[in-house]
Symmetry: C2
Subunit: 460 residues, 2 copies
């Protein structure tokens, strides 16, 4: 073995969240769709859904969020040695979104920037994040920072899945001396061939979904990842007084990829089921379930009800507060989990977040999944404050969005459906409604080449 | 800084090359296309072009090459901790090829396998390779091996670009104590936004190409990567007696992504131009060119002719022998460069390859490019022999392919064009002509779900 150098405290230094300036209200959408009251808001757990007109595509979302991250953190583009994108919003089968983002680096002259695009449904951002962290610990690292972008436009055909859409982009600045430090060597991964959700219709923005299979795949992957994660975490994260046993008590937050918030609540309950089955004597109130099997309880109503009830307090303290963006923007696909992480940051004060541990479960249909953890730094002033500042404007920006009627939302979806693949094409959506600093599509020429401009930042 | 552990000699342990069992002869294709004699064979430098019928797709190519790598190396699937695919042959916008490959792991029960798919034109395999090497040097590594797969089906519409197609898959076993060891910290990368070659028509297998722009982008990227690579290599790779100056004399092989072999010859000449401009006094015969600029000579015929002539001997010894697979199979896209590396291995004896250094230039339009290097191990018996054995059957397999007439090739292309996106679909191509051990498509059902079977290995 040769001695290498892993820098200290590798992880997330700062985050930048972008969501569309327009949203549709889920209760209004229930009425518009003729759905029963509460179907989307209570049944799915969704309040508002962000969406993009034909002015935004995957390239523009990523241009916006990367520029914001760099500018708001006072970075120069020379400082970035790696930039990669995780997305399942594919508008070119060959050219990566990453190469489009290199336009932002033009003035700096820095073209020595590793990383391209990474794809597997909602997991691509996690793969990119792991790759960036590994890069910094490897001999390939040249001392510069990395940026990881997770971005998607999640749209569904009219019908029951439409309210589970969303759109957004999250950029993370990765480096040593980070505010959210990856817990080294503690990761559970489960990958499997499944056709639960996929996008084989290359001309459509909409996925092909087997809803029931997807829930089963998600919950099974969660069981598998938690099992591996716990084995690695038992010794490394758990003090002797806990008997070296990782449980829901061993972390301060449990964050999940969120197709819709209700599934996340069921998932937290599922982790309690795992804890219980590993050590039933510790949970006497649940003794009636001691003979159940993980693999045949994905749709067991009794198990679900009992463990949802038993995990309610933990859910409300360790998960629900961090479903904030998922509830307010919808499923952003790859950024969904990192919306949970940004919510975790935004909903704590500096002193509250210090040394807190968050466990994350990433899931992408098809399927790829991992469970891993970050620990917040104890360096409040120099390190944590930068991260907390980077998420401090989320509430204000969520509130400043513009509500659009379900009818206008449906028109915007129809326009996307009919035009997203056209060349040449001039978008017709309003530019005025976009947030300052938002990149938008100006035209697609007859060779499908796309041109973008940026809404100026408000002058002082 | 904290002390981590980088394992010794991380790199490529073994390789597996898969190319189609059928090819079209490029001189016959010249006649068939009504092109002037020598246009494809001399002008492009191509002899034969492999192609797939409707029985093979990106999933089947990768299933074939991964299973072969595992079986021929006597591995078990439990030993693999990471598997990732680099490709630009996208048949699903969300589900990764990697997840399809997890079917091979079913019997082993090993689902804890990191990595998904990585995309940017012909660069995806290189990104996957770097990611796998970084993983092994990082705290994420769990001691198991990685497999990197580069695979593509490169097809063009009828016309002048059609003879620059090809198809194939290359899998590389990555780990410590490797036969081809990555030269640590010596890498030049250049990434840039360009529309030189891309695939915006989601319903077509064919790219949109700006041929002249693509050559300029390729050669410019080569200049940029070589400049950074040399700076890092000067001190680390070059002994004092060479004055710490990396030149074409400092490595035993120069391997390139090969859209067609003629461009590679021009590229080697281009490196000599770079060497010359850095130190003109060392090349008195070329003194007439001492005032030329890199950036305005991409199509300078005088410069090209002079430096092609001056670099002819180096080309013939350090590059041409390794264009073997590129010449015989065509442009495989992501595997192209690694076909060069496999040729480098296959065309040396064990004692010849010992401690030899190969410099590689990877290019993917759009664009992403890197230059990096491997050094062959000095451990002939225990390590190098495994690598050399893994490439020992290439000549026999190339020779055992079946030649197909240009007319039948054109029919196969037309069938792909008309059917590659259909669901449901039952392929009609012959299974008998496939090599033993080849996976092939059996059906696409009405939900676009794909089923595969494998040609049995010949019984003893």
């Amino acid at each position: 073995m040769s001695v290498g150098v892993w820098p200290q405290d590798v992880g997330i230094i700062a985050m930048e969240v972008y969501f569309p300036s327009q949203y549709v209200d889920q209760s209004e959408l229930e009425t518009f769709d003729g759905a029963s009251a509460g179907k989307y808001t209570v049944g799915l757990g969704q309040a508002r859904m962000g969406f993009c007109t034909d002015r935004e595509d995957i390239n523009s979302l990523c241009l916006t969020v990367v520029q914001r991250l760099v500018e708001r953190n006072g970075l120069s583009y020379e400082e970035i040695g790696r930039l990669e994108v995780g997305t399942e919003t594919i508008i070119d089968k060959s050219k990566s979104v990453k190469t489009v983002l290199m336009q932002l680096f033009d003035k700096s002259g820095n073209t020595n920037v590793e990383g391209v695009d990474t794809t597997n449904a909602c997991y691509g951002g996690t793969a990119a994040l792991f790759n960036a962290i590994n890069w910094i610990e490897s001999s390939s690292w040249d001392g510069r920072l990395a940026i990881v972008v997770a971005a998607d436009i999640a749209v569904y055909a009219t019908g029951s899945a439409r309210p589970t859409g969303g759109a957004g982009a999250i950029a993370m600045l990765i480096g040593p001396n980070a505010a959210l430090v990856i817990e080294r060597g503690i990761r559970g991964t489960h990958m499997q061939h499944a056709y639960d959700f996929y996008k084989p219709d290359m001309l459509s923005e909409y996925p092909t979904v087997d809803g029931k299979l997807s829930i089963e795949c998600y919950l099974n992957a969660l069981d598998k990842c938690y099992s591996i994660f716990r084995k690695k975490a038992d010794d490394k994260l758990c003090p002797v007084k806990n008997g070296h046993r990782f449980t829901l008590n061993s972390a301060d937050a449990f964050l999940f990829h969120s197709p819709y918030c209700k599934l996340v609540q069921k998932s937290l309950a599922r982790l309690l089921l795992n804890d219980f089955l590993s050590n039933p004597d510790k949970y006497p109130d649940l003794a009636a379930f001691k003979d159940v099997q993980l693999t045949n309880t994905y749709f067991d109503r009794d198990v679900e009800v009992a463990f949802m009830a038993a995990s309610k307090a933990i859910f409300e303290s360790k998960t629900l507060p961090y479903l904030w963006l998922a509830n307010q923007v919808g499923n952003m696909y790859t950024p969904s989990l990192y919306g949970g992480l940004a919510s975790f940051v935004a909903r704590h004060t500096l002193t509250e977040i210090k040394e807190k541990r968050a466990v994350l479960f990433s899931y992408g249909s098809g399927l790829a999944s991992s469970m891993f953890a970050f620990r917040a730094s104890d360096r409040v002033d120099s390190v944590l404050s930068r991260l907390v500042d980077s998420c401090a404007d989320l509430a204000q920006r969520l509130d400043s969005r513009q509500k659009v009627s379900p009818a206008d939302f449906a028109s915007a979806m129809k326009l996307r459906e009919e035009t997203h693949h056209l060349a040449p094409y001039i978008p017709s959506g309003s530019v005025d409604c976009l947030f300052p600093g938002t990149w938008y599509l100006v035209q697609v020429d007859d060779k499908h080449r796309r041109k973008y401009e940026c809404v100026p930042l408000a002058s002082n």
